[in-house]
């Protein structure tokens, strides 16, 4: 893992050409993310959060503007296998056991293979999946599947983690448990994390900063730093104050 990877977005815009004309989604995003920082992107549904993340992962290219990861274009970092991608769907291979799924990132694009963060077996143990190593994904609950996807992201030992609402399809309790685990993992390995969510308290609980997007075509309506020590108590008044602050800015951007 390339430690300390900053992310730099310079005037990034993205439009889609559709059958019924042009759809402007992102409109001039400027953002600097420090190495090892945990940044949440929060915005109304359809405003372009996933689009932004796809641009950083080089799964799509911006219409204009520049993206730099550790001073390199996203494609270069991706070629070095320094991108950890995780989305709402666990996207496990149904014909592979959990163990083989978690091994997948080490089997692909081998010429770029960095050392795994830990042997896969101990990773599974750490994630509470040891008993499911030989199980197939369809026999696991949604929460367990997403836990396996998290273990797989961890196994790729990437410097930048791009996570698109990874827990939003899960029930509240599972979601909280996994968010706590995510936090512990981040504190241990310190990747740079871009975390997309529409759940403000989750963002405040986890991140160093919240980046708030407006309605489409979206730009950044505000950046809210969270200067609270972790673990954060979501019932405390200071926590609630940050949540309220973010909500106010979001509501202004949503009209």
């Amino acid at each position: 893992m390339l430690h300390a990877t900053p992310i730099h977005l310079e005037n990034v815009s993205k439009s889609f050409e559709g059958s019924n004309g042009r759809l402007d989604v992102l409109d001039g995003i400027n953002l600097d993310i420090r190495p090892g920082e945990f940044v949440s992107i929060v915005g109304p549904s359809g405003c372009g959060k996933s689009t932004l993340l796809r641009l950083v992962a080089a799964l799509d290219t911006p219409t204009s503007g520049q993206i730099w990861l550790n001073g390199q274009p996203p494609l270069a970092l991706r070629a070095q296998k320094e991108i950890g991608w995780m989305a709402q769907k666990p996207a496990l291979l149904p014909w592979r056991t959990i163990l083989d799924n978690v091994r997948l990132p080490q089997q692909v694009n081998r010429q770029a293979s960095s050392q795994p963060s830990a042997p896969t077996e101990s990773l599974l143990k750490m994630m509470g999946l040891a008993d499911f190593a030989a199980a197939y994904p369809h026999t696991l609950s949604g929460g367990m599947q997403q836990r396996a996807a998290l273990a797989r992201t961890l196994a790729s030992n990437a410097a930048v983690w791009l996570m698109d609402e990874p827990f939003s399809a899960l029930d509240e309790l599972t979601r909280q448990a996994l968010a706590d685990e995510m936090l512990a993992i981040w504190q241990k390995y310190r990747p740079t994390v871009l975390w997309v969510t529409h759940h403000i308290p989750e963002a405040v609980k986890l991140s160093d900063r919240l980046v708030l997007l407006t309605q489409r075509p979206s730009h950044i309506s505000g950046i809210v730093p969270v200067d609270l020590p972790r673990p954060r108590d979501d019932t405390s008044t200071s926590f609630q104050a940050v949540v309220r602050q973010a909500r106010t800015i979001l509501q202004k951007g949503a009209v």
Partner: protein
């Protein structure tokens, strides 16, 4: 004391065992009901057929009664089976060839999308040409041996494989494809790790269509001139107006086709274990 305790548990256990086996029997009967009903229906049909033929005194050269066919089978079954094996071998060889061609073309299109239109136009052209028109030509060119049968069977079977394989390769989950792209996986890696396994259910669907087609293709080709095979037996029976022999050959053909189809189903069960409902 101890022995008595042992004794009671032993009888209890055997009673339990008995209940269990009764339950298992019921379960078995329930699971076999569909099959039994099918067999019953078939039997009823044959009985109806037999009585109808006898009551109306239909001459045997028009419609033979099942008993006539059975009589023929009793004598000729080994003979028909060895002819059937020839047809089966031709059909399987053609199926393998057709599958290989269909798969190869689908892989080609998957990697080089711009070939799609050319390949598909050609495939549809071949598929639309009636086999019955090509078969005699191939027989004239290649003789009475196995080659024309294998080629015709391949011509008949490559198309369903091509279409299904293509859909299968494209059925890969976009979320999984995104994930592999994020690892910078090569097109070859994506094909081996995702597209090929995703296509397996589609390939089995194709084989379920293509395997019986292969038997038909081989038999039709044999009708056009062959030195052996079920098609030739049918043709001989036909020219002699030997209806019981013709029906007996059809019976063996149906038997073999069903066996081929069931083998595909078995293979499918073995390979598609991760599909929740198959």
């Amino acid at each position: 004391m101890k022995t008595r305790w042992l004794k009671t548990t032993a009888t209890d256990a055997s009673r339990f065992q008995q209940q269990l086996s009764v339950a298992r029997c019921r379960e078995l009967i329930r699971s076999q009901t569909g099959r039994l009903a099918g067999a019953g229906l078939l039997l009823a049909l044959f009985l109806l057929w037999e009585t109808a033929v006898r009551l109306t005194d239909t001459p045997v050269y028009l419609v033979p009664a099942p008993s006539d066919i059975l009589a023929d089978l009793a004598v000729n079954l080994p003979h028909l089976l060895s002819a059937g094996l020839v047809t089966l071998a031709e059909a399987l060889a053609g199926l393998v060839l057709g599958t290989a061609v269909g798969l190869g073309l689908a892989i080609l299109i998957t990697f080089w999308g711009r070939l799609e239109q050319g390949v598909m136009s050609l495939a549809i052209l071949i598929k639309s040409t009636p086999i019955i028109a090509i078969a005699p030509i191939l027989t004239i060119w290649l003789g009475f041996g196995h080659a024309p049968k294998v080629i015709i069977t391949a011509l008949l079977t490559f198309f369903p494989v091509l279409i299904n394989a293509l859909s299968g390769f494209r059925s890969a989950d976009p979320a999984v494809l995104d994930y592999l792209h994020s690892l910078n996986a090569s097109p070859q890696e994506i094909f081996i790790l995702v597209r090929w396994p995703s296509a397996r259910p589609y390939l089995f669907a194709a084989l379920k269509v293509a395997a019986p087609l292969a038997m038909i293709g081989a038999v039709v080709a044999e009708w056009m001139g062959a030195s052996s095979g079920l098609g030739r037996q049918m043709w001989l029976a036909y020219t002699n107006l030997d209806m019981p022999a013709l029906f007996a050959a059809v019976f063996v053909l149906t038997l073999l086709s069903t066996a081929v189809y069931q083998s595909v189903v078995l293979l499918e069960k073995r390979f598609l274990f991760w599909q929740p409902n198959s």
